[in-house]
Amino acid sequence: MKPFEKKIPISRETDIIKAALEAKKTSRDAGFSENNQFMITTAVSELARNIFVYAGQGAVLIELLVRESQKGIQVIAEDNGPGIHDIAKALEDRFTTGNSLGLGLPGVKRIMDEFIIDSSPGKGTTVTARKWDKNA
């Protein structure tokens, strides 16, 4: 069994901040630095926003990870939306096809330590992002 796992369904605009606040609480309780807490919180907000804007609904899964002298947080954002045709392009700055500012994915990639995106047209999108922090 995993030590911590929380799933936040995304289907309304208010779920975006709700998911972000959950990430804030989880990272704070786990003892992440304030700066890392802010980055994780912002990343979750961006990922949840992508789900809401492009797919309409989906979910964000927040998990705590442990490795050697580090603790980590893993965020999986998944939806069954239209998928992304050109992932490389979606990761370029200022590229957008929805009505958000289109700054989400490249920003998330920059502020998290690991970023994996799995998407194909018609099959939805799964983004996995991790942030590591040293153990106190």
Partner: protein, 130 residues
């Protein structure tokens, strides 16, 4: 139906000729849009020359809320007033740059008091606020 109760009222006040906006609610999309309208209405109505948006009480700032705040500051400058964003730690500001939010032309201070001092010295430089 949206049953969440979301606070969107921020207790703005005017002190030393500056509109002080202490944001102590979470910035849901509707909330930040509402705050923008309130600020612009207040600046038009009172003709203040400075606006301080204090974000120290906000836990989540993302590309949407950050973008709206950035646009608010631009609109405020079109109304002839200067905006200072306070309460952002340097690390936080760095994260916002990663989201392409540079808050260009907007002064940033770590505390509300520092923001107030900055606006007052700017007003003094213009020969106002005596």
């Amino acid at each position: 139906m949206n049953t969440d109760k979301i606070a969107s009222d921020v207790a703005m006040h005017i002190t030393y000729g500056c509109l002080v906006v202490p944001v102590d609610v979470e910035l849901y999309d509707d909330t930040v849009l509402h705050i923008r309208e309130e600020i612009l209405a207040k600046v038009r109505e009172t003709r203040v020359k400075g606006v301080i948006i204090d974000l120290s009480g906000v836990s989540v700032i993302d590309s949407f809320s950050g973008g709206v705040i950035q646009d608010t500051a631009k609109a405020v400058s079109l109304l002839g007033a200067t905006t200072v964003i306070s309460g952002l730690q340097p690390e936080t500001a760095a994260v916002l740059v990663d989201l392409n939010l540079y808050f260009e032309g907007i002064a940033k201070t770590s505390t509300l008091e520092a923001g107030l001092r900055l606006l007052q010295s700017a007003a003094a430089g213009r020969g106002e606020g005596k």
